[in-house]
Every structure is written in structure tokens, then in C-alpha cells.
């Protein structure tokens, strides 16, 4: 049934890519109008930054940036600049917005991958265990913890972790990404960063860990009642092997889709985690931009983050097709 569409994967790929680009374009347009709705415009903001705010100067700035043109023309200019990766200049930081964001991106991606890994692996291990002992003590304990983690404000967990593990026990540093006084290089540097990353990664992982535990548990319970599992048991295959080799493979597919839709959540959560732990990433930049009232930088972060989510979802879609051969390409 799917052979016809699978033999032409390029059409599928092209469609998805076109949709992704359209989505990014739509997000950019939404952003443009959000910025237009803000009281005051870029010229006033810049004049305020420069400290000289005579009406003539502001009018001159407006003409210079095309702010005296009709809105649709301005939109066109905005999109044209966006196409060349020009998101404007932050007077607060004295740097291009794009440069600012890309400088902070590696720290955020590193933290995000670590917390994603913790959430997915933890979700699988605890979810499978809960399903294996369904409605017995281990399942009830795991489900209770998942319920609690889901209801706890993530930034608050971060603060409590700092209190316990940094302040009281002294095991981990309280904030930052590196020990600024140590000037570590090579392996020492890697270990140092990892040491700093433990608490923020856990903080960011907990909420999603709760979701993934429930998801894997439910998926496993569905699969475990199927005939092939009974056959596997009858053949005398060990319970762990049935769980992780036979059942999990079928139960883990929905997880991939959910992880894809959670990427935006991870980025949003980064604002909180990075602020709590002074992690020098995009989230922390957003917090600073908010405090500095740098609207343009705020919107640039939002556009690029959304674009990032669109692109990674594209990859997730493709991965899904590769992993699950029964999926039809549309």
C-alpha cells in the first residue's frame, strides 16, 4: 500500500520542506505585527538609547529605517532582511542580534540535549518498570513521583536542588557553566562543564520525565497485552528481554513524536533554567533582553527558536519514517 509513495521520497521531502518554510514565514509575519502593536517604534527606542531624542532626529531615523513607509512595504523589507539572516542590531549589546543569539546557542543546545537525554532514558527505564509491575508497589511509587514532578514548578525544583546539593551538601556548583577562576583546558574543562551542567539538566528534565514515564507506561501496557508477547513468554524468553527488545520497540514510537512537539517547550523552559543557574545560553539572553526592554532582540530570539523547532520537527518526521516502515508518506 505504501510502496507507491515510498518509491518517491523526494516529493514527500519537498512537501515537508515547503511546509516548514511556510511555517517560518508565517511566524515571522506574526512577529512583525506583534512588534507593530508595541507602543512606540524602533526609532523612538533607538533615540532613547542614543540619549538625543529631538523630534527631527527621530523623524530622520524613521526615514532611515523605512518606518515612514506603509506597513506592507515595511513587512516586505522585514522579510527581505530576514531572508539574508539580518535580524537587526542590538544597541544594548552593541552587536548584531543574529550574532548574539548564535554565540549563546551552543550552551543552550548542550543543556537541552543533556536534559532531553535524561528525560527520554529515564522515561523509558521508569516507564518500562512501571508497566512491568503494573498496579503493584513499584508502579504506584513511580506513578506518584511522576504525578508530583508534573505538578512542580520546574524553576522551583532548580532552587531546591541548589539548596540541597550546592548549599547544604556542597557537591555541585551553584551557578554558571565553568569555574571562571580555574582556567581549565582539555579534559579538565569538559569535566568542569559537565559538573556545572548536572543540576540544570536535571531541573529541565524533570517535567518531561514525568510526561515520558506516563507515555511509555501506557504504550507498554498496550503492547504487553498482544499475542506476540504471550508467545515470547511461552518460548521462555527472559522478562527483561521481552520488555526491552520486543515490547519497547513497539511502544517507543509515540515517544518520538511527543519529544518532537516538546522541543519548543524545552526552549521555553530554558529561559527559566538558565536564569536560575546563570547558564550563559539563549534563555538567559532572553531574560536579559526582557529586562533591558530590547523588544527587537526578544522577537529575534522568538523567531529563531520557532524556526529551530520547525526544522527539528522536520528531522523527527523523517526519522519516524525511517524507524517505522509501516508509516505512509503523505
Amino acid at each position: 500500500m505504501s510502496t507507491s509513495s515510498r518509491s518517491r521520497p523526494w516529493i514527500f521531502l519537498g512537501k515537508r520542506l515547503a511546509y516548514g518554510l511556510l511555517a517560518i514565514l508565517a511566524i515571522a509575519v506574526i512577529n512583525f505585527f506583534l512588534l507593530k502593536m508595541a507602543p512606540g517604534d524602533a526609532a523612538e527606542a533607538m533615540a532613547g538609547e542614543a540619549g538625543t531624542a529631538t523630534p527631527e532626529y527621530i523623524a530622520e531615523l524613521r526615514a532611515q529605517f523605512g518606518l515612514d513607509q506603509p506597513v506592507l512595504v515595511q513587512l516586505g523589507h522585514f522579510l527581505a532582511r530576514l531572508a539574508t539572516f539580518d535580524l537587526g542590531y542590538s544597541f544594548r549589546y552593541g552587536e548584531d542580534n543574529v550574532t548574539l543569539i548564535f554565540d549563546r546557542l551552543p550552551a543552550t543546545l548542550m543543556l537541552m540535549s543533556a536534559s532531553l537525554l535524561v528525560a527520554v532514558i529515564g522515561g523509558i527505564i521508569f516507564g518500562v518498570t512501571a508497566a512491568r509491575y503494573a498496579n503493584r508497589a513499584p508502579d504506584q511509587a513511580i506513578s506518584l513521583v511522576a504525578l508530583l514532578l508534573y505538578a512542580t514548578p520546574p524553576y522551583w525544583i532548580g532552587l531546591i536542588l541548589i539548596l540541597v546539593f550546592s548549599v547544604w551538601l556542597g557537591w555541585t556548583p551553584t551557578s554558571g557553566m565553568v569555574d571562571v577562576l580555574a582556567f581549565n583546558t582539555g579534559w579538565a574543562h569538559v569535566v568542569d562543564v559537565a559538573h556545572h551542567m548536572i543540576l540544570p539538566a536535571l531541573t529541565q528534565a524533570f517535567f518531561y520525565l514525568a510526561i515520558y514515564i506516563r507515555l511509555v507506561r501506557a504504550g507498554m501496557l498496550d503492547v504487553l497485552s498482544l499475542d506476540f508477547v504471550r508467545v515470547a513468554r511461552a518460548k521462555g524468553i527472559s522478562e527483561s528481554r521481552i520488555m526491552y527488545r520486543h515490547a519497547l520497540r513497539n511502544a517507543v514510537l509515540p515517544l518520538l513524536t511527543v519529544v518532537g512537539t516538546n522541543l519548543g517547550g524545552f526552549l521555553g523552559g530554558a529561559v527559566l533554567t538558565e536564569t536560575v543557574f546563570s547558564w550563559p545560553g539563549v534563555g538567559r539572553l532572553m531574560f536579559d533582553a526582557m529586562f533591558a526592554r530590547d523588544l527587537n532582540l526578544l522577537l529575534s530570539i522568538l523567531v529563531l527558536s520557532s524556526a529551530f523547532v520547525v526544522l527539528t520537527n522536520l528531522v523527527v518526521d523523517l526519522l519516524y519514517v525511517v524507524i517505522n516502515p509501516t508509516v505512509e508518506l503523505k
Binding site: M37, A38, W156, T261, G264, G265, G268, L272, L298, L302
Partner: protein, 281 residues
């Protein structure tokens, strides 16, 4: 029917626990003005008094000597208000979008659902921050911002329900009778689609309350009110010595969100007989 519902609700203790906890929080919100007529801002004693040290301040005082208990009671108001109001706004928008998409299908569905997906793609918390940055940090704007990030989930759920119910025979009957589309959507289909939406709403209220607290924690909340999030935010500076300042409001948030989730999960079980059966097995 009602009696059977109530007995099963009593047997289903998590729902009852959640409902009781919610009532306690609601009681705090309603009686804040009675117990603390002076409001949450006045200094009632020396700063940083631990819970129990000062009579009249059972939860201690913060770094400015303000009564923590008063902050908790008044904070309950903001949390509940923002949580329920934002989800109410999101419900209106989400239901309309989902209903029209699910009922009409075709290009209307396509367009509305692409727009919905778009809003789900944008990192929610970042979008909320940007909305607050643009329109200013007031309770109204925060309610609006949280509604903007909450409606897509509702729209998708409503659409799914509508697509199923639309095909039922009684709806075909309504069409044959010449009933107007709007009337079919809102008086014939919607009442049957609402149960799932209500369950989802309780969980969304919990998420909205946590998100509001996060905005306040970062200092992006309404500066004219005390909220649990802003109490945690200002308590950060005294975290080492006076950790009760961050712990108490955090526990309140945890309890509120937990209560809403318990009620939501329990309602799912009650309303879905198939799930109940699986549990027995």
C-alpha cells in the same frame, strides 16, 4: 445515575483529595481579606522571622518583615484568577476554532489546523514573555498571554470530537431538518463534545498557574500584586539562611497543580468506562 456517580467519586479517592485541596486553596483566596485586612504589604515584625518565631505570622516574615501567610493567602487569589480566567478565554477561542475545523473539514479545517500547529510550534513560554513585553505586565495581559499559548491544545481536541460526532445519524437528521450550521455546532454537537474538554481544562489551568508563577518569578508579572511566583523570586536572595521563603509558596503551587491534575485524571477515569474496565483486569 447521580448517586452512582457520587459513590464512584468517593471510592476514587484521588479525585476527592484533589477536590478537597482545591477547596482549601479557594478558601484561602476568598478569606484573604478577612484574615489579613491590612493586606500583604505591611510589615508586621522583624524581617526573616522563621515560621513559629512570631505570633501572628505562622509562616514567618520575608526580607521586608511582611507576613508570609498574608502573601500566601493573597497569592492564592492571583493564581486561581489567572489560571481559570486564561483557560476560560482559551476555551472560547479553542472551541470556536476546533468546532468549525472539525465540522466543516476540507480547506477550512486545513487552514485552521495549520494555524493551530503553528502556535504549537512557537515556544510557548517565550511567546508569553514576548506578549507581556509588548503589552505591559498587567493581570489582563498575562491572562491574555496564557490564553494565547493554551488554546491550540483545546482546538485540536474539540476538532477531533467534532469529526467523530459529525458523522452520527442524529446530526444527519438535524441537517435534513434544515437546521442552520451554527445551531447544529453549538446546540447539537458541542454539548456532547464538552466532557473531554472539561478534563483537559483542569490540567490546562494547572499549567497556566505554573506559567503565571514562572513569569512572576522572573519579575515579568504584574508588579502591583503579590503572587506565589514573585514571593519565590524575591526569596531567592535569602535562600541560604531563610529557605522557608522559597519553600512555602513553592509547596502551595505544587499542591494547587497537583490537586487540579488529580481531579482531571480522576474525571477521565470516571467518564471513560473502558479505562475503568482495564483497571479492574
Amino acid at each position: 445515575m447521580m448517586r452512582a456517580f457520587l459513590t464512584s467519586a468517593a471510592r476514587n479517592w484521588p479525585v476527592s483529595l484533589g477536590a478537597i485541596l482545591l477547596l482549601v486553596i479557594l478558601f484561602m483566596a476568598l478569606t484573604a481579606g478577612i484574615f489579613f485586612p491590612e493586606g500583604p504589604y505591611v510589615s508586621v515584625g522583624r524581617p526573616l522571622q522563621w515560621p513559629g518565631d512570631l505570633a501572628g505570622a505562622p509562616m514567618g516574615t520575608d526580607a521586608l518583615g511582611r507576613n508570609m501567610a498574608a502573601g500566601i493567602f493573597y497569592g492564592a487569589r492571583i493564581s486561581l484568577l489567572v489560571g481559570f480566567a486564561s483557560v476560560a478565554v482559551a476555551l472560547i477561542f479553542g472551541i470556536v476554532v476546533g468546532a468549525y475545523a472539525g465540522y466543516y473539514g476540507g480547506w477550512i479545517d486545513n487552514l485552521l489546523m495549520r494555524a493551530t500547529e503553528l502556535f504549537q510550534t512557537i515556544p510557548q513560554f517565550m511567546l508569553a514573555i514576548v506578549v507581556v513585553a509588548i503589552f505591559g505586565p498587567t493581570i489582563k495581559v498575562i491572562v491574555f498571554a496564557l490564553a494565547v499559548v493554551s488554546w491550540p491544545a483545546i482546538a485540536r481536541l474539540v476538532r477531533g470530537e467534532f469529526m467523530v460526532i459529525r458523522e452520527r445519524a442524529y446530526i444527519q437528521g438535524c441537517i435534513v431538518l434544515g437546521m442552520k450550521d451554527t445551531r447544529i455546532i453549538f446546540t447539537q454537537i458541542l454539548p456532547n463534545a464538552l466532557s473531554g474538554v472539561m478534563v483537559m481544562s483542569t490540567v490546562l489551568v494547572a499549567t497556566a498557574i505554573l506559567m503565571e508563577s514562572a513569569l512572576s518569578f522572573l519579575g515579568f508579572g504584574d508588579p502591583n500584586v503579590i503572587t506565589w511566583g514573585s514571593m519565590i523570586g524575591s526569596g531567592r536572595n535569602n535562600m541560604r539562611d531563610a529557605w522557608y521563603i522559597i519553600t512555602i509558596p513553592g509547596l502551595c503551587l505544587l499542591i494547587t497543580a497537583l490537586a487540579l491534575n488529580l481531579v482531571g485524571n480522576g474525571l477521565t477515569d470516571l467518564m471513560n468506562p473502558r479505562l475503568r474496565k482495564r483497571k479492574v483486569k
